[in-house]
Subunit: 149 residues, 2 copies
DNA sequence: ATTTTTGCTGGCGAAATGCAAGTAATAATT
DNA sequence: AATTATTACTTGCATTTCGCCAGCAAAAAT
C-alpha cells in the first residue's frame, strides 16, 4: 500500500501521492468543510463508498497527510486531522478552484459562485491564509471542548 | 467518456476533470518538457501505456484542455497543443511541485533539486509566467519551422 | 519498392472502484 | 442492567479502469 514513485520529477512525484480520484477530495472536506470523523465523510455530497474511504484514510495516514486521534471522552469515534503536510496542500486546492472558476463554467454552469468565490478571486493568498487559520482554530476549539466536557 | 460532476463544489469539480493518475502528468509533459506528439509521450520517464495515452489524449481534447493539430508537411504526425484552458493549469502544477519540494523529500529524497527548483522557490509567479511564455514561444517556433521547411 | 516510423486499436489479466450487506465495539437510552 | 443505536469499519461481488503486449494500417524515409 505504499507509494511508487515513477521518477524524480517534483510534479509527477506529487501526483504519485495525491493524483487520485479521492485523496484531494478528502483533504478538501477536512480543510473546507471541517469534516473529521468517518461518519462526517460518508455523509458528504461526494458520497464516497465506505470501503474506499477506509482505504484512503489509511493511505493518507501512512504518507503523513493526516493523523488519527481520539478524544479522552470517546473511545470509539476517531478524529482525523490534517498535519502540516496536509495543510500544505491548501494552495493546490485553491489553484484547482480558481481553474474551475475560470475554465469549467462552460461545461458545468452550476458551480457555486458566492462570496467565498469572490474572496478567492480577489486575494487567493489571504484566502489560503484564512482557511488554514480557520482550520487550526476549529481544531483547537473541538479539542478543547472534548477535554472539558 | 464525458465528465460526471459529483456536485457543485469548485474544488471537487476540478478534480472530477483532472483528478486522475495521468491527466496532469500529460499536461506537465507538454508544458515543461515540450512534448507534442504521440511518440514524445511514449518515450517519457513516466512510461504511459499507449492505450491509456490514446484514451487520455482523447479525453483532454474533449474537455478542451488540448487541441490536436497537424503540420502542412506531415499528414501523419499529430501535434497536441495546450489551449488556454490547459495553460491555465500551470499554477496547479507549480503548487504541486512546491508541495513536493517541501513535504515529499523525506520519503523520496531523490526528487530533483536544481536551479529550476530554486527559481521556483524564490518566485513562483515569475516561474509560472516564464513557463507559459516559453511554451508559447516554442509553439510558435515549431509551427513556423514546419510551414517553412 | 522496401523498410521504418507513427499513431493508434484490441485482447486479456490485474488492480481499483462501487454497491450492498454484515459485524463488532462502544455509546446512548430506557 | 438490558436494549437500542451509532460508529467505524470489513467482506463479497460486480463493474470499471489500468497496464502490458501484440498487432496493424497509413504515411514517411530510404
Amino acid at each position: 500500500m505504499d507509494v511508487k514513485f515513477k521518477c524524480n520529477c517534483p510534479f509527477t512525484s506529487a501526483l504519485d501521492v495525491v493524483g487520485d480520484k479521492w485523496l484531494l477530495v478528502i483533504v478538501k472536506q477536512m480543510l473546507i468543510e471541517g469534516k473529521e470523523t468517518f461518519k462526517d465523510f460518508t455523509e458528504s455530497d461526494e458520497a464516497i463508498a465506505t470501503n474506499i474511504l477506509s482505504a484512503k484514510l489509511k493511505f493518507l495516514e501512512e504518507v503523513g497527510i493526516i493523523i488519527k486521534t481520539q478524544r479522552p471522552d470517546n473511545k470509539k469515534t476517531n478524529h482525523y486531522l490534517l498535519t502540516q503536510k496536509g495543510l500544505g496542500l491548501t494552495p493546490v486546492l485553491i489553484e484547482l478552484a480558481i481553474w474551475s472558476d475560470k475554465h469549467l463554467r462552460d461545461i458545468h454552469p452550476s458551480i457555486v459562485n458566492g462570496e467565498a468565490m469572490e474572496f478567492l478571486r480577489n486575494d487567493k493568498v489571504a484566502f489560503a491564509h484564512a482557511l488554514e487559520q480557520n482550520y487550526r482554530k476549529n481544531m483547537a476549539k473541538t479539542l478543547n471542548k472534548s477535554s472539558v466536557g
